[in-house]
């Protein structure tokens, strides 16, 4: 980890547009060198938060510290941040090398040193020989890499990224995600990354902050967030889920008349059982599992798996995925079949009913 990486502390950040609070009291602690993703639906306030961190939007109140230095009233050009924009924002009147050299020229780095660092940055993003290209001669993926090179060439302690991969096609996006992980490991910069793509967030992040209605709903590691969501919103936003109303009475969890074995004892109250499509199985005849009767309504072959939609007694439709593996194909049900679905007690996820 380079000595330059800085922790970020955000306290009580508020930004209103008229009567609507885009940010409604954000508190956030990002460790030095951490990769934190802000994940949320559009309009949740995640981009506003990033723009305030970059200094492009003034908050109404709050504190932002990079390391020990209060930054909330510092203009953007004095924050020493690398920012990668969704549209890349490469200067069209400069070639690739001039774009990357731009922050170095502003910092009065000598010509030889500038040339060396520009080339090093180009090599880092695997664009070695493209320095003299014009921006409009680059593909989307190459522009993305140039934008990244330009944002890190001056060794900023913090890197902000605003949906940088959203303009790329799926295959390139997944490749870039892995490259970003490697790059982050090599540079050790503190990264705040905005996306609405949950899979991207899960792939990249040390921790994910789920934002909605201008508030941090939950901040946790990808695994904790997925396996132990704190609320209905988080459970619904991440993963492919159906919710069943559960009542816990005298320590026994029930859905309708069916007792559900949970991973750990629950306090009495009303909950939602989160049924993730990959946790449900067609019955394997094991008595340790929770078993639920269902009627198959749709079977869709999707290449790597088969998607089965089934209706439960209460009318809820659940989805499960069966991997398309040899030996399983013959046992796929057909629409109209009555099946039993199984859920391992260790895979039961309960969130408080809203």
């Amino acid at each position: 980890m380079p000595s330059g990486a800085l922790p970020i502390t955000v306290r009580g950040l508020v930004r209103r547009y008229g009567r609507v609070a885009a940010l409604d009291g954000i508190d956030l602690d990002v460790a030095r060198g951490e990769f934190l993703t802000l994940l949320g639906p559009s309009g949740s306030g995640k981009t506003t938060l990033l723009m305030i961190l970059a200094g492009f939007i003034r908050p109404d109140a709050g504190s932002i510290r990079f390391g020990d230095v209060e930054m909330v009233r510092t203009p953007p050009h004095k924050r020493n941040l690398g920012v990668v924009f969704q549209s890349y924002a490469l200067f069209p009147h400069m070639d690739v090398a001039a774009n990357i050299a731009f922050p170095l020229v502003l910092r009065h780095v000598g010509a030889t040193e500038t040339r060396r660092r520009v080339q090093a940055a180009l090599d880092l993003v695997q664009l070695g020989p493209l320095g003299s290209r014009r921006v409009d001669q680059l593909s989307g993926g190459q522009r993305q890499r140039v934008a990244l090179a330009r944002a890190i060439v001056f060794d900023p302690g913090i890197l902000l990224m605003d949906e940088p991969l959203s303009a790329l096609d799926k295959k390139l996006r997944e490749q870039m995600q892995i490259e970003l992980r490697h790059l982050h490991r090599r540079l050790g910069t503190t990264v705040i990354y905005v996306t609405h793509d949950q899979r991207e967030a899960l792939t990249l992040s040390d921790r994910i902050a789920v934002i909605n209605h201008g508030r941090v709903q939950q901040i946790d590691s990808p695994q904790r967030l997925y396996e132990a969501p704190a609320s209905h919103f988080v459970a619904d936003f991440i993963g492919d889920s159906t919710f069943l109303n559960i009542t816990v009475c005298d320590g026994v969890a029930r859905w309708r008349d069916l007792a559900i074995t949970t991973a750990k004892p629950m306090r009495d109250g009303r909950y939602l059982l989160v049924l993730r499509s990959e946790k449900l199985m067609l019955d394997k005849d094991s008595s340790a599992l929770n078993r639920i009767d269902a009627e198959v309504i749709e079977v869709v072959y999707q290449g790597d798996s088969v998607r089965i939609d089934a209706r439960l007694a209460g009318g809820e439709v659940v989805t499960l995925h069966e991997l398309a593996r040899a030996g399983r194909i013959a046992s796929w049900p057909s629409p109209g079949d009555h099946v039993r679905l199984a859920l391992d007690p260790a895979d039961t996820i309960l969130v408080p009913a809203p």
Binding site: A89, P92, L106, A151
Partner: protein, 293 residues
């Protein structure tokens, strides 16, 4: 089989489509041809054929006679000054309008355009009312005690420049505003995030991106100024003689169509040269591609 399936028919369709497109342009070609090229050709003919046949006398006179040199000099000085002032006034104005929210921007743009819709003569006379010896401007300044004697604001170079500047501003603002509106603000943000102060972001990023519009506006203003007649005629008070006024006096006073035609041709050549010089100085083609990048 020598011809692929339907190939001949498909080619014929493409040909017919191109032909129909060309037909759409025929009316404007005809008008341009008859109303522009024929008269200009006639002018050129008049300028080199006098009563005694072919002569370059009308052109040599322009070079030899000092009166002509001073007319050319005045025209260029006036046009240059008005263009420079228009840039200094029009650039910040366009910038402000481009940063406004769309509704406010269209109101401001309308305000810029309203004088544009008023008759040229009306606006020129309005400046007379404002600038003359006992006009609004001098009266106010004297009442406030800023000056004791009325300033000579009209019937001279100053008055001509003021009047022309006012008329020229929209010609600069319109193309410049269109260009600035198309500049994504994310470029300035990106510059700031990379460490550029607002001043430095302007010089290094915003100004270069607005150059195509600035160049278009500047050429437009300068070229219109070169051929301006009404405003210098009325606000110059006879002390300012431009090329266009010389043409007018050659025709109306001296009935010398040859001399007038030669001046007209010279003006046309100068204008074309200005266009050419600007397009060489600025790589316009590359700069106009900025919007798509």
């Amino acid at each position: 089989m020598t011809d692929a399936l339907n190939a001949a028919g498909i080619r014929a369709d493409a040909r017919r489509e191109r032909g129909m497109l060309a037909a759409l342009a025929i009316p404007s070609f005809l008008i341009l041809g008859t109303l522009l090229f024929v008269p200009v050709g006639w002018l050129f003919f008049l300028s080199v054929f006098g009563d005694s046949g072919f002569t370059l006398e009308n052109y040599t006179r322009m070079v030899v006679e000092p009166a002509y040199a001073s007319v050319f000099l005045t025209t260029f000085e006036l046009s240059g000054l008005v263009t420079v002032l228009a840039v200094f006034l029009g650039y910040p104005l366009s910038y402000m309008i481009a940063l406004l929210p769309p509704r406010a921007a269209s109101v401001c743009l309308t305000l810029v355009l309203v004088p544009f819709w008023t008759a040229l003569l009306v606006r020129t006379y309005a400046w007379l009312v404002l600038l003359q010896r006992r006009g609004v401007v001098n009266s106010l300044l004297m009442n406030w005690g800023v000056i004791s004697e009325p300033l000579a604001l009209v019937y001279n170079f100053t008055g001509t420049a003021i009047g022309m500047l006012h008329i020229m501003i929209p010609f600069l603002v319109l193309p410049l505003y269109a260009n600035m509106r198309a500049i994504d603000r994310v470029y300035v943000r990106a510059a700031a995030s990379l460490g550029a102060s607002p001043t430095s972001a302007f010089w290094r990023v915003y100004l270069p991106l607005s150059l195509p519009g600035l160049a278009a506006g500047t050429v437009m203003v300068f070229v219109i100024c070169l051929g301006f007649y009404v405003t210098p005629q009325f606000l110059g008070g006879g002390r300012v003689t431009t090329i266009s006024m010389k043409i007018q006096s050659n025709v109306a006073t001296y009935f010398d169509w040859g001399a007038a035609s030669a001046l007209g041709v010279a003006l046309l050549i100068i204008t074309a040269a200005v266009f050419w010089a600007f397009s060489r100085l600025l790589p316009l083609r590359r700069l106009t591609e900025i919007g798509d990048a």
